[in-house]
């Protein structure tokens, strides 16, 4: 059984002006994490988090193949995301494009990497925006932001507000 008191938090950092890096450790071998990441029926169970329901998950897992997820939050309007697979190394690495259909001109390239140690897997997802213009379009859409005010400064800001 998993230790339910051990809540793993996703770590978000902003390595450069146009990148977002998310990392998280899982108590499972990486071939299972990979399976959960690439199997539509399983994606439907986690991609919506606790607020959204994934109403559609399509995955054509081959280089040049397309993916598309549709999420509905609380019966509200649907958000859709889609992209294309650029590079696939089973159980290790997937490079794909991603477009939030609310800001269709802004495509990012996402690199998902899995490393396993002692039966545990660390996942990293690097979101690389393709240009500052695209990144800014996404900022305008309120979805993602490539800003680089050091997170440390933001922590200070947050503490100042507390």
């Amino acid at each position: 059984m998993s230790n339910t008191t051990d809540t793993h938090k996703a770590t978000l950092t902003l390595p450069t002006d146009d990148q977002i890096l998310i990392t998280r450790e899982f108590d499972a071998p990486r071939h299972l994490v990979y399976r959960a990441w690439t199997t539509p029926e399983l994606v439907k169970r986690w991609f919506g988090g606790s607020h959204g329901e994934v109403t559609s998950a399509e995955i054509d897992l081959r280089v040049g193949g397309a993916w598309r997820y549709v999420v509905s939050a609380g019966g509200g309007p649907e958000s859709a995301f889609h992209g294309e697979y650029r590079e696939i190394v089973a159980n290790e690495r997937i490079v794909s494009t991603e477009v939030f259909e609310g800001a269709p001109e802004a495509e990012s390239i996402n690199t998902m990497t899995l490393t396993e140690q002692d039966g545990r897997t660390t996942m990293s997802v690097l979101v690389q925006h393709s240009s500052q213009a695209n990144r800014d379009a996404v900022i305008a859409a309120g979805m993602e932001i490539g800003m680089n005010v050091a997170l440390d400064s933001l922590e200070q800001v947050a503490q100042a507000l507390a």
Binding site: L32, A36, L42, G49, A160
Partner: protein, 117 residues
């Protein structure tokens, strides 16, 4: 290409890298324009221009200290950005928590398969 208004809100204002550098320099306390010019290696007019944009969106405050104008970060204006980062982080945390549940099931299935072989 159409140029989006860069000063309408704090998100757009800090999309400009030099302005983020300015905010970083102000993160640990107030500084004068001259100090900022020195630290950033930019011209005084350029620093003043960026400070003006940051003031317009409320990201920095200014006060007069004798003949010097001292600039500081206005934490309240940066709160939307902090909220955004927190929100993005929360979305991914929720996804990953749900993924934990899926993985637990996959692990159990795999163990069952081994036992039944």
């Amino acid at each position: 290409m159409a140029r989006a208004a860069t000063t309408t809100d704090v998100f757009n204002a800090i999309a400009e890298p030099r302005r983020r550098e300015l905010l970083d320099q102000l993160a640990d306390g107030e500084r004068s324009v001259n100090e900022l010019v020195e630290r950033l290696g930019l011209t005084q007019p350029l620093v003043s221009k960026h400070l003006r944009v940051l003031r317009e969106v409320g990201a920095v405050r200014v006060r007069d200290d004798g003949r010097r104008r001292m600039y500081s970060v206005d934490a309240g204006a940066l709160k939307p950005i902090h909220d955004w980062v927190s929100n993005y982080e929360r979305i991914w945390s929720e996804r990953f928590d749900a993924l934990d549940t899926v993985l637990d099931e996959l692990k159990e299935q795999e163990q069952d398969d081994v036992q039944h072989d």
